[in-house]
Symmetry: C3
Subunit: 472 residues, 3 copies
């Protein structure tokens, strides 16, 4: 239906259109384009770099594991099974069929950042010149596959080529972090790959997998987790283990960000009830909020930056969850509230010199109403970059417009890619640099900021903020 | 106070201002400007076309029945009675007085789409050249009245002149659809005018008019509606009747979009309690949610596209409701939630090949947080066009900016005019085409989309999406 | 870190960038730039003008009392004590140290309106030419201090220089309004300084300071406030006192805008229970909603325009509240609901010819969903200007874009500065005029409004609306 056409790779892409603003934006962008990548949060597996094995094939690299890509194809009528989801490594012919399906439906991505990222990856990493179509799918597949067979396309080669200075992974508290240790000990690898502590399921005492999780936590920490007090000790022990392996942050994603404390005896009572399956959902939520406050207290002690990514209904379509597992494209955001939910935490630790709390949201209503006012007073609070569905050009500009007037630039945490696709890391950072350049250029053109200041802000956003906020 | 001036009818109206973007937008708009109108949802009465009687007078055509127009005049201090609301046909002199009141307050519409629509209708349909004022009110009245007396200004003539290909009406399940049948049987009329099934009041078991409604439903369907089971059978019967008369959709507007099912016995129990006036408001709401889920099940069976228009507090000002009836300008939106409310429906039918669920909202917070993520996964879910207060230039662009990055263009349902004023249909569709052209032109100018793709998207939005989503 | 640079004072600042739009905006702005300032709501103390004493020093004028300024410095790590907060007049050397701290952290204000206001005040009121830095802090301090010592920089001189026509203050119902009386009686002062009635704490029957408040109210009004009936009488008495002193408005800020009435006996019962400390929080809220409705009834009687500024969690960080008092930068907004909450009030008084109800919000979600639809029907409802965190360039344009299409311009109340810093009054009004000029210029450039109409709208927003809505 569409003739084969070039990939969208204009040098001014994503910059504002008005010529005088674009000229400013170009200068700003030029000043940060080649700065190193600091990535304090994402979902790349450290094993990838520790093993440095070649990527298997184009679909496994760009499609199957990335719910950003598969969800829109699913919406357009392609069953997830036809995209290889949940099936492990695919035989060559199947992988090629997956790729063909993607290319034939390239139009469903129009206007989305997924489209932008994929085209940028194809063009810049694999030198593909044509927009994918049903007709050229095989040729593009072959071109990418040929690249992947080369040594320079193995993970470490790309890591270096992408200019990544620091990359944080996301890890279970019970993880032994062996790949991180191997990388740190490997003189041939000079990048920094740091773990991050993600304890969500240990805080959800009424979820089916909690019992097994805390049992394992007890083993790994060599601490009896049969009491709440023991749970706290085990958590502190594992955080210390992570710190020794270079971690500088924790990450938390629950339905809400409640931090109301329980009396010590009540926390203990609910914890023990949960161990015997006798805690109610309401008690489980109350305990989780108490635990989250406890995590903030630990951060004051050990200095781990605390990230909150709340309010997503995970696995919204249970039949798909059952058939294909989690992270398969049907996690749907819900409304969230920060002002009252975080008050217990902030009254206790909001001015603590050691706490850094980075708040993310998928509920844009909280930007100007709650998040920016909070970050504009509490020295511990920083605003995380627009995340997930909101890591996209218009959404990023909405974020900056909504929070800057109330809280400036210094209270934001810099760009955080949250990437799953390894090759999307550089294009995501590049997109963020372009968008912030455009936003700042507008302020300059409207005479709200001088260009020297805009240059200073931009450099701070690209490397200064993430290094400071995540202690990198 | 203002001198008489020309109507705002610039050929580039509503297109982006920056010259390079406007040039692209002009080309895009030019490619769809003359495409036929596909109108899958609105409030024109089929009798209008079946009878093809001349419109009575300018006020009856443009003012009195249109709460978009009367509400702002009421806010500015004109009692609804002085606008002829709720009074049936007006004598000539009264109608003229109404028109004078409107023209004298033309400034209260500045910046609103109502102003834009009215001026476009006056200029394009009636060849009026001057902006209305107190001074020229009578002259404009006469000019419009003279037109209305002509044969070419009768409903069918305008239908043809407007280029309407399909027009859906909104109808009560008990309606016999006789005007639709007359139109379908009339060889002199070649347009398609289809009914749509709007069963709201049959689902609200604790509202005062429910008892009479289900009694009548039983009669019309020749089915005993003395039980929930009977209600279901009667509904299925009436839907089938609508399908035989060409209907392709149902429409639903309730306080929320809850779809939690009840146990069969519980549904039956509440239904019977309601028949004797013994159901509580809470039970009524629970039954309505169960019934809405049942409607989705029926849509899987009979293929009727299901529209949801939730969360409006109808008749907010009860004294006005009592004096002038419903739809008199004081329906006020309330907050709404989709993620959890629709989960029962989507877990059951969200991937059903026969279901098409079109979601509308007046709560813009749900665009990026809930609606776009849902439509970006579920093949059954489509996003309806911005509706009612949001069917306006800036609001439409906010909608596109908020949903496109998450769900692209293919998951939206195309423009839906929801019009009450017959003459506003073409100007509303024209406005939508201009706005989508402008939105796409920006993406092209920012190098996020190529122009060939933008042309393809635009044609799909104008005719492709509505035909596909509403099976027209 | 940054070299000393000029203050941002370009004549086109804040106007749209695109040349053809900017040209229109310049013409519009030029037509209102020099109109007098009508300020129907703010927080300047009438004593300031009555006494006409010189301002003490630059920090006391520009920093210490202004939580807009101190909060961002606090977030950046400066304790409030180091900014002189809560400490009364500072010795010269301390005041200078405060000023140095501000200048050294000038960059934290980048992109905020606080930065814009401060620079505009320094440049236009004190003729400062350089952007503040650590290096030039003392020189700027000296320059401002030198000015403040001059007669022309005393409050009345600035009042005249700023072109203020009317200035409303905010006052406790028990205030004797003596400064207002002195000003009114002073033939040497020709401006209008009017009180506004702010009874918040008298409506919160379960707050610690309520008992003392109503006792004092009883004394001042010479009315027994030992019953609800007595409270009503005392309130009416004080409102009449305010009216005699020129007041034209009341102002109300509570957690919500509920107006559900209680039965008379129930109101009396709760009131008396509260007097003995036996009312629950829920009863206190119910009584407050009943009282707010009573206030609306009084407004119908005495014609005082009623402002609602709801939904802020005051004193969010209790340790700071305890140490430094209220209004110290940690009032954080919460979600709010208008549609249902105001319904009891609007059903009773929404079409009353004497009521003017001005609604403000910090929850932008209510703009298009609730506020604009309400103001677009009820003749009594007006939308207040974007307030507090939202009184900023991008936020103001979001407000206009969100409400204009639904309710036009005539249903908005004009600019309201809500200023605490006396010297920020003219720059805030100037900012509003620039932003409205830019918004209207865009509508003209998009051919949605003619320029003669835009000129008319703008003049109405600047002086017409506030005079009419606040009966000035």
């Amino acid at each position: 239906m569409s003739v084969s056409a070039g990939l969208v790779r204009h040098p001014d892409r994503l910059l504002p259109v008005e010529p005088s603003v674009r000229a400013i934006a170009r200068r700003l962008y030029g000043s940060v384009r080649d700065l190193p990548i600091v990535s304090p949060h994402g979902h790349v597996d450290a094993r990838l770099l520790a093993d440095d094995a070649p990527f298997p094939d184009p679909s496994a690299l760009l499609v199957t594991p990335d719910h950003y890509v598969t969800r829109l194809l699913h919406a357009s009528g392609v069953p997830l099974g036809d995209l290889g989801v949940g099936r492990g490594p695919l035989p060559e012919e199947e992988s090629r069929r997956v790729w063909r399906r993607v290319c034939a439906r390239w139009h469903v991505f129009r206007g989305t950042p997924v489209r932008y990222w994929l085209e940028a990856e194809l063009a810049e990493v694999f030198d593909v010149q044509e927009r994918p179509t049903a007709e050229n799918a095989d040729a593009i597949y072959d071109q990418v596959a040929t690249c992947l067979a080369k040594d320079t396309y193995r993970p470490r080669g790309l890591f270096e080529r992408f200019g990544i200075e620091v990359l944080a992974t996301t890890d279970d508290p019970c993880d032994d972090l062996a790949p991180h240790a191997r990388l740190a000990a490997d003189p041939a690898f000079t990048g920094r790959v740091l773990p991050a502590f993600r304890p969500d399921r240990y805080l959800e005492a009424t979820r089916p997998d909690w019992l097994a999780a805390v049992a394992r936590l007890g083993e790994v920490a060599d601490t009896d987790t049969g009491s709440y007090r023991g749970w706290v000790a085990a958590m502190e022990q594992r955080r210390a283990y992570f710190v020794r392996h270079g971690a500088t942050s924790t990450d938390h994603s629950h339905d809400d960000v409640g931090t109301e404390p329980l009396a010590a005896a009540e926390a203990e009572r609910i914890y023990r009830a949960a161990l015997t399956g006798n805690a109610t959902a309401r008690e489980g939520a109350a305990l989780r909020r108490h635990m989250l406050l406890e995590m903030a207290r630990m951060s004051c002690d050990d200095g781990l930056t605390m990230m909150l990514h709340p309010a997503v209904r995970r696995g919204h379509h249970r039949p798909t969850l059952t058939a294909y597992g989690p992270d398969t494209g049907h996690d749907i955001p819900i409304r969230v509230e920060f002002t009252d939910a975080l008050r217990p935490l902030l009254e206790r630790f909001g001015t603590h010199p050691n706490l850094r709390l980075v708040l993310f949201t998928l509920d844009e209503t909280t930007y100007s109403r709650e998040l920016a006012p909070l970050a504009g007073f509490y020295p511990s609070v920083y605003l995380g970059a627009p995340w997930w569905f909101l890591d996209a050009p218009d959404a990023v500009l909405r974020f900056r417009a909504a929070v800057t007037e109330t809280t400036g630039f210094t209270r934001t945490a810099g760009f955080i890619d949250d990437a799953r696709g390894f090759c999307s890391i550089p294009v995501r950072h590049d997109m963020a640099r372009r968008l912030d350049s455009g936003f700042l250029a507008r302020l300059v053109a409207e005479h709200r900021l001088d260009e020297d200041e805009a240059l200073d802000v931009l450099a701070d956003l690209v490397t200064g903020r993430p290094r400071a906020v995540f202690r990198l």
